[in-house]
Amino acid sequence: MNIVVCVKQVPEVSDADLEINRKGSDIDREDLEFEINEWDNYAVEEAVRLKEAHGGHVTVITLGDEDCEDVLRQSLAMGADEAILIDEDGFEMSDAAGIAKGLHGVVKDLSFDILLTGVQSSDNSWGQVGLILAELLGLPYASLVVGIEMGDGKATVFRELESDTQEKVELPLPAAMTVQTGINTPRYVSILGIKKVRKIKIKETDADELNLSEDEIGAEGSCVTSRKLVIPSIGGAAEMLTGSLDDICNKAAQIIQDKGGLV
């Protein structure tokens, strides 16, 4: 069984003080660390687990600059067999459809049973690439997947719904799915693991090779245009406490008590 996983490199922002660049087009990426998009990491793990259980071949694809090789190497270390990097030149300012077109250029020529992406990316959070890609390929599609069971020519898929409920759906193969976090526990990738896949060659391609013209991708080919990133102004209900640690704690305790939180 062959599986294709589309992954993305994103900035790691959990502990960073984010700033928006002067043009307002993006966050200031200098001094940031980068990592694989959390959802995509679950997707790669799921693909490797399916391969371990049923045999087959896992291909990971990303669209980005050459630094994104790290994300591909990590996926290879997790157990993927092959990696393809689509150069981001020409894709700048693309909307989700533009990115999906790029991925489609590669995926359409691959033979596979399951196509996985994360539900969304942690940086742009459109949550559209997987869906558009499925549409371009004409594949049955399930979103928010938290469980996959393989059957004969079909897959039984569990989708996460509200309040701990799940929907069980059946898809004929090949099919596309977007993976929700929590579907598994992604494995740890050791430094030795990454060193071991150092020699695997990563295939590279670009918009030209994929016959994508300027009016299909990039700013021109996009229906949605990002105008500006902003940091929302601090609302009235928020109060920043200042002072020493003890002062802050006392004030916080007082507020909680006043609001009826501490009895």
Binding site: D15, T185, Y188, S190, I191, G193
Partner: protein, 663 residues
Amino acid sequence: MIPFRVSYWHIQPVWIFYLLAIATLTVLGLGIAIHVSVWRKGIKRQSVSFSLKDIFKVIKEGILGTRIFKGDVAAGTMHGLIIWGFLILFVGTLALSADYWMFPFLHGSFYLLYSFCLELAGLMLITGLIWALIRRYVQRVPRLERRFEDLLVPVWLLAVAISGYLAEGSRLGAQSPEWAGWSFVGYGLSHLWSGQKEAMSAYPWFWWLHALLSMGFIAYIPFSKLFHILAAPVSIYLENQPLQIIPVESREEEVFSYREAIFFDACTRCGRCVEVCPSAGAGEPFTPRDFIAWAKQGLLTDYHLLNSVDRFKNWMEQRGTENGQFDASKIWHCTTCRACLEVCPVYVATPDAIRSARSKVVEQGTEMPDLLARSLKNVYKYHNPWEATKKKRAKWASDLDIPNLTKEADGNRLCYFVGCTTSMELRAQALAQSFVKILNHAEVPFGTLGKKEPCCGDIARRAGEDGLFEMKMEDCSDLFQSCGIQDVVTSSPHCFHTFRNEYPPYMTLREPDEQVSFRVRHYTEVLAELLGKGSLKFENSLGLKVTYHDPCYLGRYNRIFDAPREVIRAIPGVKLLEMTHHRENSLCCGGGGDRMWQEEMDGDPKMSEIRMQEAAATGADVVITACPLCLIMLEDALKTSGLENKLRIMDLNELVAMALELK
């Protein structure tokens, strides 16, 4: 008539005996081959160097048994009686063969002395064995297990000894030589038979019984804990042999090193490690003994000579799962505190073996504890386990004007290596701030690496993530080299241990121009040195009762017990009270071995709470420690065990700064 003894007196046919002896030796040989082939499967067989000193060590600690006496005189005496009784009888039997086959020398008064000694040895053996049975089954010494093997071994050996006496007694009864009294036990037993004829008819039966039991026992040795007779001396010999370092990329599939495989075979499950293990003591599902048994079973299942036979392999695997109260998930409990190694009579290095087992889990990746996996990713990405950006590393010192050695290289300045936890963790930062004030007060020229200070790699090393450790070691070494750093002092005993003991063997693997050597000390040594030089003068009396908690990686690992105590005692009005467990017997706070960066898997009470209860029992006002991890763990335990109003916890630097009235 000259006293002597006829070999095989009235024993027919003798060839059956020789046939059985050959069969016994074949089984013994096969058994040893099974063990040795497993040893040989261990990672990279390094050359073992000859050391006369270590041979003496084997004789002193193993055969004379000094290490078995240590801490348990009863066990030492019991074991001494058995081993010496056994050895004398064994040598006696060899002498008999030599007498028969090569040159007769057992006659006359020498024979009488020989008989007398063997008689005594038999009594020693029997006394030792009965004592062993009493300890295990009547006294029920808590650390001892009661498996079938534990009963079989002493009972069998007892049967060997008693049947030997009976064979001798019946022979003496049948022969009634005038010198029979020298074999005083056998002579006493010879009266069991009413006459020479009766004794004569019983004699061959006992002779054959004794022969069969003895040979069976010898054949059983490699298949039981008796194998320690052979493995323990090797294990004791290997203890001081330097560990060979294998870079992570040259590693083979095997999990354990050959010396670890030998250590496992040397283990007799005596349980001394269980008594001192802080994790076991806190009721956690871990003991070094269970781990060793599990690891040993795993090695045998993987590499047994007979593994090509499927049915045998299945049987071994079955046995492994039946004995399995222990599984790989429990290896993360070990705090690597080294208390087990301190008391192990045969030096089974559990912390090293734990690291090996962890390495396997890390490389597989699927069974890693989540939080630890995240901490290791942080070490890789942020160069610290606390997920803090570089800016935050130097924040603790923002009010202190400390020279930055990465900006102004100055090899003459002492490099204060603050460490990740001391830099980032709020409570531990006080350690660093106090130490800096003391260094300034004593006018010591020093600096730090500021926000460029890397992680020393200790966390990765303890987790068995050696690829990451090597990476961090390279980061540190390169930075030290480029900044010309020669003299390092650390806050943490963990960084100290890593620099002092883990870096040097790796350096020989680097290119000559990349090899870095530097002096490293823990801050307690620097404080003791400043005290000795007269740079620290305490004027005011503090009027405090304190107790000192020995950090594992400072004390047990690096034998620094006195430096911190000297400093404490030098402060006027400070009375040092010792806890029940101190110096090499200190109890771990529970933060070592990467427990600090894992999910809570504590028992109730926690290790740290047990430690604080012990500290409170001394009647001290303050617990002093010398490690940021101990400081954090014990401070937490103070709150959770309700001792907040009775005790305070301070780092030694804080105490010294207080005594010097540094603001």
